[in-house]
Symmetry: C2
Subunit: 428 residues, 2 copies
């Protein structure tokens, strides 16, 4: 029986778990694929590092990733390095040569997935990337395949574990963002430079991948409206609690009137929403489809072992395909829907205003909403004197109209300060 | 472009939704499969019935299902009739002739899936059955494919909507079983004869299918230990509440020491467990795998449209395979694990005893547990006189030892009555 020969690019947290699982589950993998899996080589940045604990021949390590990818005895290239270059060069080279690719590289897929898909088509190779979104949660295959007989209308997800840990901590303890970030860093949930997570770049990349699959269109990270969680305050969290809500960093992709709206931003959701109880560093994705109704997928979104589980599942799939001499369905982008600008997305705002305590304040404020054609759902006034606060939740309106309303409220002389502005998702 | 020709067997709730979706999403399906889908015929029990609202040519209806299956111009057979015969005869005939089969028939798969899989292998045909378990939730494909690089250790599911509705109602209102069943019947959640649901037969069939996929072994409905919910009382639900728990009908499949344990029974689970918040007629399946950790899949488990969504997803998959001239991976039963008897399954019990209010009662009761080597986790005594109650939660022990303990407690003279015995799952 001819074996399936893998080139592994990267041997960090995820890569070493892949090596361990390939070793531990060798006989199960052979039975499931129909052929044994063999490591042809492992590309690493520095060759000198001690990897004595890994169950592999040290001679397999190389610093020449491109050379490894080009070798004739490599059937499948597994990439767990991340980043745009040199990963793109390696994967394009592999795909064009007809080698199947399994990758966890969300940044590359979101930035330039088209180039990879085109190379896969050119080489007649498989391109699998289950591990790129929501770690171990089997999510892309269901979107790619199981729901193909249905029409997905909306995907709402918590796809970044670091920010979910931070927001969960803020919700549980009343801590501010900085304090919660420090805790996340101390516990290893946040990286030394947390920018990609807390500013929403990581979630935006995943949102682009999800939107592409759900709506059969090419959506890139640049198409995603993005706001991070660095400006979420303890006061915002307290406001949300008063409304029976919690704050989550959501990625939301929806199909509206023949266009795709994709956005990542913090939002208040009611505690009764299935996503509200997704705590700590867990991920979950809520899918709404015309016939299927509401679905939710929940699990660990990151970490070496969960991500490696998704990579191994893809290795089994591409291995079987190679053995059968077939290629999986390629990219489905036939719908080719345009991107809807954020200003046209319909959202709802929760706005807390510090206001002057005198007659006519509500009339003045309401007038601004009316001028921008924004309908108010609820108003709550509390406090007196210097403590007078007005809390307004709107009905759905174009985001641009809501933003313009907030700008104009700021200039209103009865408004001392805008204490908090948050979007609201789900029935509050 | 040659079209994909379907024979639809059955045109009830699910079948008519399949017809509707095929019509409404015709152009999307063509793009996703790569060929148009065409109905070659629809087999129904009675031909006279008015189906004027369905967007199909009335000439397609036939009462000769077997004749339809045998027709040379049929590529794919979609069965949504249910039951063992004549469905088995039709599907075996189709598969042996090399026609792909998409079925929602859990009873047949659980009773005699082996015969179908063997026929599929003989005919070189695809056998897909996503709709047979948990309706619209993409569950079987993830188990079959996404988690193939991992080792699943346990699957815990709420897979019957009727019983979940009844137990949720009992939990919410304090109603007894009979009253909650009446409400479920009135609302259309329970059938006129609810036996298959409330006695756990439906859940047991699904448990067999899940266990087969998760553990790569042939598991049939007869291998599943089964208890329904007819004996769950309002007092049990109240007891569970006092413990911070709720009662759910669970299907539990686990791999223990080289064997498979599969059971369906009501159990107390803590309210903090992700399955506890699955309300109404929703389904959810909680999967634990070595590398992936904990995963959960949630959605609508029944109903015409959700089930039809799963059927359509399978139609797209088999359609693509036919166009590519390939067959999906066949049944994976290589592990061939034996079934572990229920008596050897490790479970935990929650036992409420009405006891005599006198010294020495606890010693006598504890002695019975010790005799059977069952370790007690917590004991709570409440009430005095005729109201004296002893509530005991055990640690994990073989189910047979727990059952023997309960039998012996019954005979103890300090025990006036056993008020409630329930298994407990999850950390209480």
């Amino acid at each position: 029986m001819k074996s399936l020969r893998l080139a592994l690019l990267g041997c960090g947290t995820v890569g070493s778990e892949v090596v361990r699982l390939l070793h531990e589950q060798a006989s199960d993998l052979t039975a499931r694929i129909g052929a044994p899996v063999e490591l042809a080589g492992i590309a690493v940045r520095r060759s000198g590092r001690d990897r004595g604990d890994l169950p592999v021949d040290p001679a397999l390590f190389t610093t020449d990733a491109l050379g490894l990818v080009k070798r004739d005895d490599v059937d499948v290239v597994v990439e767990v390095v991340g980043g745009i270059e040199p990963a793109r060069t390696w994967l394009v080279e592999a795909l064009k040569r007809g080698k199947s690719v399994v990758t966890a590289n969300k940044a590359l897929l979101a930035e330039d997935g088209g180039t990879l898909h085109d190379a896969a088509t050119e080489g007649g190779a498989d391109l699998y990337y289950e591990a790129s979104v929501a770690g171990a949660i089997p999510l892309l295959r269901p979107l790619r395949e199981s729901l193909h007989g249905d029409r997905i209308t909306r995907v709402t997800g918590i796809v970044n574990g670091t920010t979910n840990f931070i927001l969960s901590a803020m919700d549980a303890t009343g801590a501010g963002f900085t304090e919660a970030l420090e805790e996340a860093t101390a516990l290893g949930y946040a990286e030394a430079d947390p920018t990609a997570d807390v500013e929403g770049f990581d979630a935006a990349a995943k949102a682009a991948i999800l939107a592409s699959l759900a709506f059969h269109s090419r959506v890139s990270a640049a198409d995603v409206y993005r706001e991070g969680i660095t400006e979420v305050t303890a006061a915002d969290v307290a406001s949300a609690k008063e409304m029976g809500c919690t704050i989550k960093l959501l990625c939301i992709a929806s199909q509206i009137a023949g266009s795709v709206s994709v956005r990542v931003h913090p939002a208040m959701i009611p505690r009764s929403h299935p996503l509200a109880s997704v705590g700590d560093a867990f991920n979950a994705v809520f899918v709404e489809a015309e016939a299927a109704g509401q679905l939710m997928f929940y699990g660990r979104g990151a970490g070496g072992a969960p991500t490696a589980s998704a990579v191994l599942g893809d290795i089994v799939a591409v291995g079987r395909n190679r053995l059968a001499g077939v290629r999986a369905a390629s990219e489905s982008a036939y719908a080719d829907l345009p991107i809807r600008p954020m200003g046209e997305a319909v959202t709802r705002y929760h706005i807390s205003l510090d206001v002057a305590d005198r007659a006519g304040v509500l009339a003045a404020v309401a007038g601004v909403f009316a001028k921008h054609d924004v309908s108010i759902a609820t108003v709550r006034q509390s406090g007196r004197g210097d403590e007078a606060v007005l809390v307004i939740v709107t009905h759905g309106a174009p985001d641009a109209a809501l933003a313009a309303t907030v700008r104009e409220l700021q200039a209103l002389d009865v408004v001392r300060a805008i204490a908090s502005v948050l979007r609201v998702e789900g029935a509050v």
